[in-house]
């Protein structure tokens, strides 16, 4: 028994949504600023339209899908 019965990846790409990242301590944004992480899981913006970059704020849901 491996003790790993379930997939539990550290990074999950959500279709038409953010990148979920588990267990990170800090994230560097596009400007080079490093943000401390204080949650077990964070959602990183992939549409680049978030008002809270680098974090997802749900804005992708109101952008038409091309």
């Amino acid at each position: 028994m491996s003790g790993r019965d379930f997939d539990h990846p550290d990074v999950v790409l959500v279709p038409h949504g953010p990148m979920l990242l588990r267990g990170a301590e800090s994230v560097q944004d596009l400007e080079g600023t490093v943000h401390a992480v204080d949650r077990p899981v964070v959602a990183l913006c992939r549409c680049e339209k978030s008002s809270r970059l680098p974090w997802c704020d749900g804005t992708h849901k109101v952008i038409p899908r091309s």
């Binding site: 379930f6 999950v12 959500v14 949504g17 953010p18 979920l20 204080d38 949650r39 077990p40 899981v41 964070v42 959602a43 008002s51 809270r52 974090w55 997802c56 704020d57 749900g58 804005t59 849901k61 109101v62």
Partner: protein, 318 residues
Amino acid sequence: MRLPKPRGGLSEWLVARLAEPELSGSAPGADSWDDESISLWTLHELSFRGFEDADDRAEWDPDLLGVRRDLETALEDRLRARWAEAGVDATPALADVPTALEDLVATDDGPSLADFVRRRADRDQVLELLRQRSVYHLKESDPSAFVVPRLPVRAKAALVALQFDEYGDGDPNRLHSHLFARGLEAVGLRAEYGAYVDDAVPENLEMNNAGSLFGLHRRLRGAAMGHLAAFEMTSSLPSRKMVQGLDRLGLEGPMSDYYDEHVEADAIHEHLAARDICGTLADDEPDQAAEILFGAFTCLDVEARFATAMLGAWEDQR
């Protein structure tokens, strides 16, 4: 918290009985929806924090459990009738439960209180909304916590991960219900648990009762998790609008911070809830798939009814 004010014959009987357990006699029928809703809310509250002027043993009093069961049956029948009437396909392919949840949320056309707060609400209206919201936000996430031991492995791990964040990631200062209490204080409202229950409109009580009903019954675990998913999936963008509205009215500070926290937190939680909780639950217990959608629909439906009632009352005042 003290027992709420009665709103009719049943709640009058109930409040008297809770304060004085030796009283005999059986419960009268409810006079109104308001009477019924405050009675069920009170009975459910016995399983959360209780009342300082009620006997703690009342939670498991067989007579009161009988009253609670009748009220819960009536509520569940009403919620299921609305779900049936909505005519949504409740038999998603199991792998598609997260997508079915997304579709349900995307087609929700209920009015948005957050939109109103962002653009038009005046200060008094926002304070009234916050008093109404406090009935839930001061026990935020507590109904879902009852579901933890009733879930299979993957859904259980994901629910606890979500709850851990709701409960402040171990820091009491970041507990969401505590952040809301700080927000209430900052805008000059009462922050103690249950402070505004007597002001709650029946649509608000029904919304709270539906969440507690799902959380407290193992049988309804799927509905509870669907409800949670729909709640989280409709939180991030409206929370941002709440921040904009509060700031517009000069109510920035701790209350605005509470909503600000939910912009980011719920952008994460919605995926945990839809995929890791509801998706895996449907995979492990296929009979829960339709229940998940019923719970999600109910979350959207009771919020829409609450929003309609609040906006209608404000419209009448103009």
